[in-house]
Symmetry: C2
Subunit: 457 residues, 2 copies
């Protein structure tokens, strides 16, 4: 076609190994710490994650084989096409070339199944019968429900009560795949009952839901817990995105000047960016930008600390950028970006100076999302709109500077389940949330008394 | 991969011509008739359809070139992969091989954009500024809104009021793409006002909405009307599905014994089936099955007659299987299959003995849809579930007979916007609607006094 807009890979070209960035870091990742302040060992996590997958969390080898049983299922929507957004380029009048990986073709509509399928497969292989997890807006819960259906595992999802009530369709997706979806806090766990006792009308939070899912897991037979972001192995499962993108860019003799992804827990960003960071660590010149919501500015305003992954303080301490585990993000539509912390690996590469971070407000993001839908066609998820808004900024800067620039970003998922945000925006009802110093101070206080990560040598 | 489940085509292999089945019919299609009972000429339709596309409706040449400007946009989700449903085969324990074209990857989530993009392009080329259309459940309205956004056309969709109220998300999709979506009947047209005068609380109907969209079109400047199914040119635009499928089956040295598609207006069925019917007309041995809802059994119970395409009787008379233009189908979830008539070309090939028809109830269809989602992953639209249920029947028959059989069907779209039906089904609230003889008799009475199509010679 005269106007090539899509680069596809064949079956033979699908990556057969994940990239583990831990092999290439110039400083090692500070280890997770247990309640005693000592590094957590794999053995300590064996009641939570299957022992056949756990080594991945601590692995330092560069490449880890993707089992055939996982590839076979990923192949339903992978390799994912790389597109060039020519219509948007034209609308912006920019000399920049904008490329994107479209992760919206998976059955759950986002990049999440890249890891949910992998995790479900390892659990199945290990003889596990049932997985528990938590979900906020529902993207992760539906991705895990889908994966469990493929492998015949039972699945229970604790969904933050306010989302459970406000977003019934994500719950229906999970149920269509045979999963059980409970509003959290629930009567199902001791922790849930305790929270309900204190406040019958609580809207719930991701932190409460994590605590319930872990309690359910450790107190049940043949059950493990599954997390959709933040941890090392989860980010590694997503690197298939960036590995495909590198092959695709090479096919058209391009290499990105800027790589962009939105970042909540960090998995879709890392999935695209880490394989490119490998080149950067080897001397290649490129910028890599993580985009977060200004209402939850973990990377741009949160200190690098040891903090819990959940609000209740049940998880090990992770060395990461965090706003404090009691931080409750304002109700922006990008539910997947409402997390108080950031993946240790993403936090670490920011600290090493390998990436930049940008914090954007949601009205700007929706403006870009609507422009995207009306030029490029696919309606983006509110999370994805953060990456798009940054792309538009970069493309406009290229225009001002009169420079051709190659931009690559991760189009992490479609917004068909999140149309209410578009409605609010188009009706002019959407507004931005500004984080006050007082809010920050309050949640940062929850970090007091926790150990500090060692300085970079 | 050891277990191949997907056949992809490269950019070079995308079909560059549509297949026009009119070239190969052994009897010519009876022409559409005007109010005077005489054949309608292209010139009479020029206020409704753009004159540069109209010849396609009457064309008899076998191949019609697809313009580059259309291919470029189709390329966003085409060529669509051909999958083998190995997990379902295994679950059914069938010796049959089940292949399907996945049309759910388009931005609107169904096969509809194959024609909406083509129609919008022709209108744009012809200098038209605005399109009107009607929509029931919203699949077509959203597909046209998407296409109009790509080409910078204005778009107004008259959406059946009950769907407008009950399915707000389809409306939000259209709005995200910049289209205007009005509940029909509306105050916007003389016909709509008349209907509202008679009954303020009417739920509306597709027939009313068509009448409003046509009235809006013919009374406005630079405006044309667009239809999502039924007509010859619409079905032809969909043949890209079957043309791709033939190439894909050939790549793996397979040829279907049975080709299956669900049929409401007939476009997704024809899109897959017509290129295979070309082989059948040339002597190839295969079965082709159109699947309709038992609650709206046009092909299996409707006579072959001349009837109007809309309830108000504003359209030309079409020679087709019809239950009578006053037939109001019961509220099954598969809104896209609730149409009183059937595409003249699909009706014609049934009459010529080239295809079979099957009518299924929705509980059986949802049972198969859930089994599909839990084995193959992608959640099907309620329309698509009719094709799946027929596939399951055929696969079970192959098992009983102990015969390997190659089944190919059209997976016409995803069900992410239609999850309420799954909820009703899973909660055991779904029931079947049985068409009574009295209902049939009543609506068939609306055919009285209309001309009769000539018998096949």
């Amino acid at each position: 076609m005269s106007n090539q807009i899509k680069v596809v890979l064949t079956e033979d070209e699908i990556p057969r190994q994940w990239y583990n960035i831990q092999a290439d870091l110039s400083h090692p990742l500070p280890p997770p710490l247990g309640p005693d302040g000592k590094p957590v060992t794999p053995a300590m996590l064996e009641k939570v994650f299957p022992a056949n997958m756990l080594p991945q969390e601590f692995a330092t080898e560069r490449w880890i084989d993707i089992p055939e049983g996982i590839l076979e299922k990923l192949y339903l929507w992978r390799p994912a096409p790389l597109f060039r957004a020519r219509a948007l380029e034209k609308a912006l009048g920019t000399p920049a070339k904008i490329y994107y990986k479209n992760e919206g073709f998976s059955p759950a509509g986002s990049h999440k199944p890249n890891t949910s399928v992998a995790q479900a497969w390892y659990n199945k292989e290990f003889g596990i019968k049932r997985l528990t997890t938590e979900t906020g807006a529902g993207q992760w819960g539906s991705a895990l429900a889908f994966a469990c259906a493929l492998f015949g595992l039972k699945c229970r999802v604790y969904m933050v009560r306010i989302s459970f009530d406000q977003k019934p369709f994500r719950k229906l997706m999970m149920q269509a795949w045979g999963a059980e979806c409970l509003p959290s806090p629930s009567e199902n766990t001791a922790f849930g009952r305790k929270v309900l006792e204190d406040d019958m009308d609580t809207p719930g939070s991701l932190g409460i839901a994590i605590s319930e899912a872990i309690e359910d897991c450790v107190s049940s037979k043949d059950t493990r817990y599954s997390l959709g972001s933040v941890l090392n192995h989860v980010l590694m499962h997503q690197t298939i995105i960036g590995l495909e993108a590198k092959k695709q860019m090479a096919k058209i003799n391009e290499y990105p000047d800027v790589v962009i992804g939105c970042a909540g827990g960090g998995s879709n960003f890392a999935g695209l960016a880490f394989p490119f960071l490998a080149d950067k660590m080897a001397g290649k010149n490129l910028r890599v930008v993580a985009v977060e919501p200004a209402a939850c500015p973990t990377l741009t305003k949160g200190p690098f600390v040891y903090d819990h992954g959940d609000c209740a303080g049940m998880t090990p301490l992770l060395a990461m950028h965090s706003l404090g585990h009691t931080f409750v993000p304002k109700p922006i539509h990008a539910g997947g970006l409402r997390y108080h912390g950031m993946a240790p690996l993403v936090s670490h590469v920011l600290r090493e100076g390998l990436i930049e971070a940008s914090a954007l407000h949601q009205v700007e993001c929706y403006t870009s999302a609507v422009q995207w839908a009306r030029t490029e066609g696919f309606i983006p998820a509110p999370e994805t709109s953060h990456a798009i808004a940054q792309v538009v900024r970069e493309a406009n800067r290229a225009k001002e500077e009169g420079k051709e620039r190659v931009i690559l970003f991760n189009w992490s998922g479609h917004g068909l389940m999140d149309l209410t945000g578009y409605d609010n925006f188009l009706q002019g009802h959407l507004h931005d949330y500004h984080l006050t110093d007082e809010d920050m101070k309050k949640s940062l206080a929850s970090l007091e008394g926790l150990p500090k990560p060692p300085p970079l040598k």
